[in-house]
Amino acid sequence: MSTVQATRTFDVAKVKADFPLLQRVLEGGPIHYLDSAASSQKPQVVIDAMTTYYETINANVHRGVYEIAEAATNALEASRIRLGQFIGAPSPETEVLFSKNATESLNLVARSWGGSNLGPGDVVLLTQLEHHANIVPWFQLQAEKGFEIRWIPLTADAQLDLTNLDVLLDGVKILALTAMSNVTGTLTPVAELTARAHAAGALVCLDACQSVPHQATDLVALGVDFAAFSGHKMLGPTGVGVLWGREALLEAMPPFLGGGGMILNVTLDGFVPADLPAKFEAGTPPVAEIIGLHAAVDYLDALGMDAIREHEISLTAYALHALTERFGEQLTIHGPAGAHSRGGVLSLAMEGIHPHDLSQVLDQHAVCVRPGHHCAKPLMKVLGVGATARASFYIYNDTDDVDALADALAEAADFFSF
């Protein structure tokens, strides 16, 4: 990547105009959608790509010989290559696997790689930032295989505390970590951790669910061995996710789900799995969704992933400043203090107001934030809260959305003032 080239910028108003849902006026007013960490909105081009598929080339993939079946297959494989290119995968045609979502991708790694490589005496290292999707599959496997699970702890501002990393890494077979917390926005030092994990003989599985949509991803530079993410958080449809894995690892792993599409041969005595990537894609894939995700990635690249990151840094900086200025001690924003060390995710705690109540007041003004534990209960425990109200930003959010958030927070503070 050239450093001379100035980062492109984009016009948020124009971007917003591409999203039909963001044109809606809700009962509380024009929508301020601040929940993209849960799921992003979809631009018209993604919706159109899926509709066009259904209207012109809808057919099951891989087995048909007729014209539209071949077209559908080609569209699916083109999406695989495009997705691989988007994340810097060296061999997309074999290493990019389509799944249902990041959760399924992570379960695949735990079940297939973990199931055949982990046993008593082994260690899996996680971080306290993890989403349940990168915790529960390991617990489930632990119950069968009896390995140890360790946790990288956090500093007071919810960054990874690497003080005792060497001790923690001792005996570890795989480090599974998030690139960006969906609660605090914390960015983790993936490349550095990967180097240290590899030096200690461990593999690295990256939960890239929150990072791939919001910043440029270069798997080769990161050095990780697996990476999982979901289509629906990056302008794509629900129902499609990706697992990228190193070819040599995927080759050696047993299939995850069994069924049609994933076999080379089946006899009365057993089966022989297919080659990559089919080996890990049992059953009819979500063809329309995979094609929609291709359109989403094209849309993101047209804006430029570096420009997207820049936009989110400046909006996050604006929000951190505006909210701190206005509410001071009354409002806690969990996580790193600087916009550069975090993604556009703000977990808010207003003194004396439960996040559920806070979000209810915000809903009256069509400010869409999410209350709850955000599927990261161990992290909530470390933060010392049961829940937070989370506002998260994406390409279509602007300072108007932040101002609406601040105004609604002020009203909540007023309403619940004791």
Binding site: H354, Q364, G372, H373, G386, A387, F418
Partner: protein
């Protein structure tokens, strides 16, 4: 769109600010039951003392939650003290009915004998929701119904544990 006043009646906010019967009871003899709202992470703990006449002699509430779950727990604790289990179950039925959750009988296991059915009908007829009426507006906010019923479900579980133990 229903307004905030429909949801946050003054009496609800009062119970939220000054919750009644907060604390713990020594367990045993009291039962200690945890309830979770998996959607929002709220946790509630209900401590129950039930004597051998099947009367709730003491109740304490612990845990954290939103104004709806906390006020519902607070009002519940005030409402069930000194009531018999039959009365408590009738009150729970009435409360859940107000939340538009209808369960023909909370005793799912055994069929009620005639005498018990009679007692249940009598208890149902005698139910007064009182302050709990303030939570009626929650129905207009369907996602919050789970907040309002969390304490009650935990209470029922506690009663089950207490009566099983004895």
């Amino acid at each position: 769109m229903p307004g905030l006043e429909d949801l946050y009646r003054e009496i609800i906010l009062d119970h939220y600010r000054s919750p009644r019967n907060r604390g713990e009871l020594a367990s045993p003899p009291a039962t200690r039951t945890e309830g979770f709202n998996p959607l929002c992470g709220d946790e509630i703990v209900v401590y129950l003392d039930i004597d051998d006449t099947n009367t709730v002699t003491d109740i304490r509430i612990g845990g954290t939650g939103c104004s709806i779950s906390q006020s519902s727990a607070s009002m519940m604790s005030a409402a069930v003290r000194d009531k018999t289990i039959v009365e408590v179950k009738a009150l729970t039925r009435a409360f859940k009915g107000m939340m538009s959750l209808h369960e023909s009988s909370l005793d799912t296991e055994a069929e009620l004998d005639a005498e018990a059915a009679e007692a249940e009908a009598q208890a149902d007829a005698g139910v007064k929701l009182g302050d709990l009426e303030a939570l009626r507006g929650v129905v207009k906010f369907p996602v919050r119904i789970k907040c309002a019923t969390l304490a009650w479900n935990t209470l029922l579980q506690g009663i089950e544990e207490a009566t099983e133990a004895s």
